[in-house]
């Protein structure tokens, strides 16, 4: 896959300062990576390797202490609708119905109600949530909340979808379903995805490429290609796929620091 670079992270240094205790923690240092246009890139690494901080820098939530983060050659300075984020905590607005949550981005850009409801319904259909359109977030299960959050981001037509351990808080069964749904949805709605996870299996199942980070401060330890055809990505069969098993085991060894890059 030789697509053009969508997001470029060069020599990124991110720091976290605990103001109450006056402690400075270095999350990433000298981190360099590219996200290619329309690829599904997963970033894995042990806890505290700065992978969520990396996502925050690309989203524009946090400012780099050193290095640059740019999209299409322009530096990223603040959050924007071109980079929609899906959070582990779902982050749906409790005072809006599911339909209104999914239409949020369209409302913020001034789209009329009838049109944004129509678009939102289409994305609720894609995420199997049409029956929940008039419900409020507190009435949904964790899996349904995360489906709604994905629909909210996709309905806003971002150029990049940034996903911060989105399935870490749902139960194991639901997680498998959501992963398969994400494979299907992404096939039907291609866009650039940066997916942060601590689960190697999840990364191999979802990604075109995987970036393995070292323990904090995070740097790139290895880049792993996942050339498994997307139509073979079903949990019922993929564990019998030797390619999947080999990539998974190698990536796991890389994450644990047992194998040199």
């Amino acid at each position: 896959m030789s697509a053009k670079t969508k997001i470029s992270v060069v020599d990124l240094r991110m720091e976290y300062v605990d103001e109450n205790r006056g402690i400075r923690h270095i999350a990433t240092d000298g981190l360099t990576l590219d996200v290619k246009e329309n690829e599904f890139l997963c970033v894995v690494g042990p806890s505290g390797c700065g992978k969520s901080t990396l996502l925050s820098a690309i989203a524009g939530f946090l400012k780099p202490r050193g290095g640059t983060v740019s999209m299409d050659g322009r530096p990223i300075l603040e959050p924007g609708a071109d980079r929609g984020v899906v959070f582990q905590e779902y982050a749906l607005l409790p005072w809006k119905t599911v339909l209104e949550n999914v239409g949020l981005g369209l409302k913020l850009r001034g789209v009329a109600k009838a049109e944004r409801d129509a678009v939102a319904m289409r994305f609720l259909d894609i995420t199997n949530l049409t029956h929940a359109a008039e419900k409020y977030p507190h009435e949904l299960s964790g899996g349904m909340k995360q489906r709604a959050a994905v629909a909210r981001t996709l309905a806003n037509k971002p150029e990049v979808m940034l996903m911060d351990e989105p399935f870490a808080a749902v139960d194991a069964q639901t997680r498998l379903t959501l992963q398969e749904e994400l494979v299907r949805i992404w096939d039907e709605n291609r866009l650039t995805v940066l997916f942060i996870t601590h689960s190697v299996e999840e990364a191999v199942f979802l990604g075109d490429r995987i970036i393995v980070l070292t323990p904090g401060p995070g740097k790139v330890r290895a880049v792993v290609d996942v050339p498994i055809p997307r139509d073979q990505r079903h949990w019922a069969t993929i564990n019998a796929n030797p390619q999947f098993v080999a990539i998974r085991d190698r990536t796991l060894a890389l994450v644990r620091g047992l194998e040199a890059a």
Partner: protein, 262 residues
């Protein structure tokens, strides 16, 4: 949960909620005669009823109620119109917080009836003074609840709205006001209750009409039935406001949203 209910027009009334009122009436009916309290110290139900009929017939009661309610609503508007934006500014802006918090804390301790003497000098006896004192009280009730409400909005919701294109005024209408609404509503309710206290206090000292003035004036003539009538009106009006405005508002918003349990 409820022991049963009956319908009063389109309103549902819980029997359990009515019981304490019946008990109060029973005590009122029996205790004065049992303890030998003379009627000028505590009037009978019949005397208060007669007074209510008399003051309604000559229009005084309605006038006083409308005067008090008018002041209360005017002060409610003024106090909240100042408190909500200032509260949001304090919660979101470090400089605004550093600048305003200490002086507001200082002023909070003297909020309310303590201002009556100065208010009388500034505005004279009547409307202006009373509204000033109530608005002052309401301001501080709403202010600190607004600050707490805005500060309670999770950071991840700010991030979610901003990464879906939220900026400028939309952040206030889509995120900050609804996100702080649980606390703001709580604040408005406390503000209204305290507003009633301030209203009665201010009218007693600086009023020329209204329910508070009516009860205080009655003292000069030992009109205990007027005093008790005034107390009953104040209690009933606040109860009605709470049940007809604040509770339904709460059910339709923060309870519906799952942000508070009922």
């Amino acid at each position: 949960m409820s022991a049963g209910f009956f319908r009063l027009g389109r309103f549902r009334v819980d029997l359990l909620a009515v019981l304490p009122f019946l008990l109060l009436i029973l005590m009122w009916r029996t205790l004065p005669s049992l303890t030998g309290m003379p009627e000028y110290m505590f009037p009978t139900i019949g005397a208060v009823w007669d007074k209510a009929v008399e003051l309604t017939a000559n229009g005084q009661l309605q006038d006083n109620i409308l005067d008090s309610l008018g002041r209360l609503f005017l002060a409610f508007l003024i106090g909240n119109a100042l408190a909500v934006p200032i509260g949001i500014a304090i919660a979101l802006n470090r400089s605004a917080s550093d600048f305003l918090r200490p002086v507001l804390t200082f002023l909070q301790s003297i909020a309310g009836v303590a201002w009556v003497p100065l208010a009388v000098i500034w505005f004279g006896i009547g409307m202006g003074s009373v509204v000033f004192v109530i608005a002052n009280t309401i301001f501080f009730s709403t202010l600190y609840n607004t600050v707490a409400g805005v500060e309670s909005i999770p950071k991840v919701l700010h991030r979610a709205v901003r990464s879906h294109g939220g900026r400028g005024w939309a952040l206030y209408s889509e995120l900050i006001l609804p996100g702080a609404f649980v606390n703001i509503l709580l604040g408005l309710r406390i503000a209204m209750a305290r507003g009633w206290h301030a209203l009665v206090g201010a009218e007693m000292i600086a009023g020329s009409n209204g329910l508070g003035y009516m009860t205080m004036e009655a003292v000069q003539w030992y009109q205990s039935s007027t005093i008790v009538l005034g107390i009953l009106c104040i209690g009933c009006l606040w109860l009605a406001m709470d049940q007809l405005i604040f509770r339904p508002l709460e059910r339709r918003t923060v309870v519906r949203w799952g942000m508070v349990r009922q």
